[in-house]
Amino acid sequence: MSENIDVTLAPLRVGPPRSPISRLLESRLIGWVALAAALLAPFVSASPYSLNVMTTAAIFVLLASGLNIVVGYCGLLDLGYIAFMAVGAYTAGIISKSFELPLLFTIPAVLVMTILAGLIIGAPTLRLRSDYLAIVTLGFGEITRITANNLSVTGGPSGIFGIPGLLKIGGLDVENPAVLYYLTVLVVSLFVLASARLGRSRLGRAWRFVREDEDAAEAMGIHTYKVKLLAYIFGAIWGGLGGVLFAAHLSAVSPQSFIFLQSALVLMAVVLGGMGNMRGVVIGALVISLLPELLRDFASNRYLVFGLLLVIVMVFRPQGFWPARGYERERATVDVDPPAVATEQGR
């Protein structure tokens, strides 16, 4: 009946947070603590390597929070999400390189392109059943990558190199890894917050209604097609900006970075963390992006370990580390945290 990938979204955690720990974890405090940790990390270690890994992780968090809008909130299985990042990265890279512009100024163009991409991918496919949507999005992902690989404007297989930095204002050079890291953290936390707030809004609820039961949603006057398309567009924007940061971070964009595996990894982050719960998703993203780095010592076997861990985690915690809590305060008055999403603020 439904296009929801998650008809069986099994019982969520119900009722108010009981243990003091979970109460702390689900208070607004945790968001701040996370941010503080992110801001302080470089004081612990600021080697190029650790900065690089941390920046990559931050970008990955952005991607995950974007995909969470599509998969977690709206329940549309997208197996080609990385394509949006590719569009963003290439648009930014090409423009900034050909006009010698700092990446920052390419953002308007990136927004246009990614929204366009969202429409192109979404419009014809959103009527499909979820499984077909999955393969179609996968197809679009591959098409994007291969096209980038074949065209000369995208630099073919070796991609684009020597992309100028985000911005250069006098002394402050954003190409400096530390500065870039802080900028990334700033942007990412803003967007995580934004998507969390979206999740707790009228639109966010509409997304959930669509996920749970399209017909019932329609009967209540929710234009499911428009709502889904919006989810796609927001997801696309998040991904596109992820692409800009990616380009700024690597100063290079090449097709290998947008293979199907990458899409799968972002999806894993969302599911592993706890679909629909922004905090869980952030954690999932950190795990997925940092784990392979931590497993480096296993060299070629690290993916074996990674795979086994995935299975184990899923078997023992199918809802993800931190699923959304189906609970809101009784008789809540002004500025209530609405339901299911009560836990979803990146603040």
Partner: protein, 297 residues
Amino acid sequence: MTQLIWDGLFVGSFYALIALGYSMVYGIIKLLNFAHGDIYMLGAFIGFALLTSMGGIPASLSLVALLGVLLVSMLLTGGVGVLIERLAYRPLRGAPRLAVLISAVGVSFSLEYGIAAIAGPNPRAYPVRLEGGVFQVLGARVSLPQIVLMLIAAGLMVALNFYIQKTSTGRAMRSIALDANASLLMGINVNAVITRTFFIGSALAGAAGVMAGAYYGKIDFLMGFIIGLKAFTAAVIGGIGNIKGAMLGGLVLGFVEAFGSQWFGGQWRDVFSFAVLILFLTLRPTGILGERVTERM
């Protein structure tokens, strides 16, 4: 032209064999079994191990030996498939479908890099080669091995179709595909059927693996990935969950690719295939033979 059709047909029959597994599993538990392509890879490696353990085989006997190895590998891969279902999928029954999907991705990683750890990352050359005369049929180069393999593939599919259509287990499978709970109430042992499904699907993929190894002569631990995606695509084109559809989808994809690379050059082939897929699905959202799901309200 005829050459393209023949090539498409040949590659397509491989896709079909693997697509079957995808489609059956999907039909029964609505799971996109991402590890399926790697079962194909596993089959190839098991076959490799068996053949090398046999030592030198006279070329005359190679076909016989191969058939033997084919059967054994099918049994083993089938077993592995069942094992995977037990360990990685069954505990997740009733969990969000995406959780199972991720578990499947995990299994896929584990199989790929597990084999890499055991057999080493280097590609291996198959000890037994299907060599045979090439002759022209309507302007198409057709080789004996190709015919043999296609006969095997066709045989397996016919057998499977018979099994699904005529036997009680087959009926059980179809009924579960329609409504698992109702089937449970009807006293069907759902778990047993699911186990069988995984066994058959994996066995078919394993067979395809051995055949690929013997025909192409090279196997490596990542060989399952791309063909897995392709088979998945084929299953969807045919109408996922539909057995005949999977076979048909495999052949269709084979043709599309053959002509795609002919018309647009190799580097655009996959773009073409996926474009066709997308266009096709938007026009006929249930695949060629997929039945439209009409919901009661």
